[in-house]
């Protein structure tokens, strides 16, 4: 296990290097000269060259990359072109809101997805299974942004039950207020994963119920409830961790869209705003951060899978 962990951590190095190259390329690919954002009309060409030199932009590309990487490794992701604050600070401020939203959405999708999946599997091919299966197709095919608009129309504009923007009401500082603001973003972010989990749980429960060990348990006189909860469910739930890892990109993409629709003050809306204002250092920082999130999320899912399923551990 330790060896495996070490190998996985070592594999991260080329990945992170590649991601850093992509992020660096993003600044260099950007249209326009990065120096121009520092230039004021009364500067002479000499001044401009001096700025260029002070930013290291007169050096060859590979050296620029090396300097940049060195800065990144010491936690300096540069300064936002828009409000001139360190990129890292701005991102760190936004992380709790995004992680909170993602966490809430994961919990919600797991609870609803597993429950509905089991209900569907135990009522295989009955009307309720068919209805749930149809709903799961809608869940997978529903454009999140449109679902968000419907929710806003119904619950904010018509019913006035829920606030449609932001995370807090100005001047109100209570947990309940944050929850009210979070209900719709969390629901929109969860809808696809609910459907994915439900479909997975349904099909794997059905195939587990056909296994020999289930028949043997019946032969020993176990009741179906005992078989389901003590034996089948274990085998069904373990791989969910992997699915969780696989649905991470989905959820990160979703967070960009959901946060921008609901003006949720997280990393996603920060990233979208940075794209619109062509704030390169910020764009780069967000790219790196979300890649980190993706890689470490997947690593975590793999690790957990190894921990909960002893069979995997011995296989490695």
């Amino acid at each position: 296990m330790k060896k495996y962990l070490l190998r996985r951590l070592l594999q991260l190095i080329p990945m992170l290097l590649f991601i850093s190259i992509v992020s660096f390329a993003l600044i260099r690919l950007a249209p326009g000269d990065p120096v121009m954002s520092f230039v004021t009309p009364n500067m002479s060409p000499d001044d401009i060259e001096r700025i260029r030199a002070s930013m290291g932009l007169d050096q060859p590309l590979y050296l620029q990359y090396a300097y940049w990487l060195q800065n990144v490794l010491t936690g300096n992701l540069g300064y936002s072109l828009i409000n001139h604050r360190p990129v890292l600070d701005l991102i760190v401020e936004r992380i709790p809101a995004t992680l909170g939203l993602m966490g809430c959405s994961l919990v919600l999708s797991l609870i609803i997805g597993i429950t509905l999946g089991l209900v569907a599997a135990l009522n295989k091919n009955k009307p309720i299974d068919r209805v749930l299966s149809f709903l799961s197709y809608i869940g997978i095919s529903l454009p999140g942004l449109w679902f968000a608009m419907i929710l806003i129309y119904v619950f904010s504009i018509q019913l006035h039950w829920l606030p449609s923007l932001g995370m807090r009401t100005i001047g109100v500082n209570s947990v309940w207020d944050v929850i009210l603001h979070g209900v719709m973003p969390c629901l929109v972010l969860s809808i696809t994963s609910i459907a994915v989990f439900m479909r997975y749980i349904r099909s794997s429960t059905i195939s587990q119920l056909e296994e020999d060990y289930v028949n043997i348990q019946y032969a020993y006189g176990s009741t179906s409830t005992v078989i389901l909860f003590r034996h089948v469910l274990r085998n069904v739930l373990l791989p969910v961790i992997t699915i969780l890892g696989l649905s991470l990109p989905e959820i990160i993409t979703g967070a960009f869209i959901v946060e921008s629709i609901f003006s949720w003050p997280g990393m996603g809306s920060l990233g979208i705003n940075a794209v619109f204002s062509l704030d390169y250092p910020m764009i780069m920082g967000i790219t790196m951060m979300s890649s980190f999130l993706l890689i470490f999320g997947n690593l975590l899912a793999d690790m957990m899978y190894g921990v909960v399923d002893p069979r995997i551990k011995s296989m490695r």
Partner: protein, 281 residues
Amino acid sequence: MNRMRWTLLVSQLRTQKSALIALIILGIYVLAALAAPLAPHDPNTIHLDERLLPPSGQHWFGTDDNGRDYFARALYGARVSLSVGILAMLVSVTIGTIIGAISGYFGGKLDTFLMRSIDIGMSLPSFFLMLILNAYLKPGVVTIVLIIGLLSWMSISRIVRAETISVKEREYVLYARVSGQSTFRIIFRHIIPSIVPTIVVAATLNIAGVIMMESSLSFLGLGISPPDASWGSMLNNAKGYIGENPTLALFPGLLILTTVLAFNYLGDVFRAAFEPKVNRR
């Protein structure tokens, strides 16, 4: 082998009415998109005295904030959304199939290298990269097709690779190799044709994903730009008028939903037909 799979598919479509419905819906959308110029109104003519009208006999889907006929806009939007879906799918399926087949056929170091690169590629936040590239480059159908296509072939190549590995040991491939055919010919004449069903499934599901991505990009204002419209950019526009005229959001959303739903559903039906084991469940 292949013919049997196609026969299975046809019988599957015949017995499963819902699959037929999905096909019919897509057929109608494609025909409507092709027939868009026959629409009674022009999609881009502005009538400021007819703003935000509800659906009526004259304007089937009502009018938008500039008094443009919403039905005509939806038809032209279908052209953009569907063609982006199909073209980007072609790009990603082509790249995915070639890379997957090469990786699976040659194996060894090349395979390891390609698969590790794909692992790395899949750890990038692709949607955010699409946003960035769209912001940098000149927006338009070609840009968006290339960006989506070039960033979404990885999962297809994994599937193709796995299939190639199982196919390359079959007798006819061995025979072709022994009889001295070139590697290029073996891959394109023997291996790829035999995994077409798998590719069809992946392609169908891929279109659904692409249409969804295009609509998200356009919704954020970074895809198709005005005055042209896709269903996603219509939603983007409708966002501002959701209180006054919610039908503006209703129609494009329903069109995206039903199209993506139909492709997802057909993808599953194809898979069930091609993999009889799944079929039984």
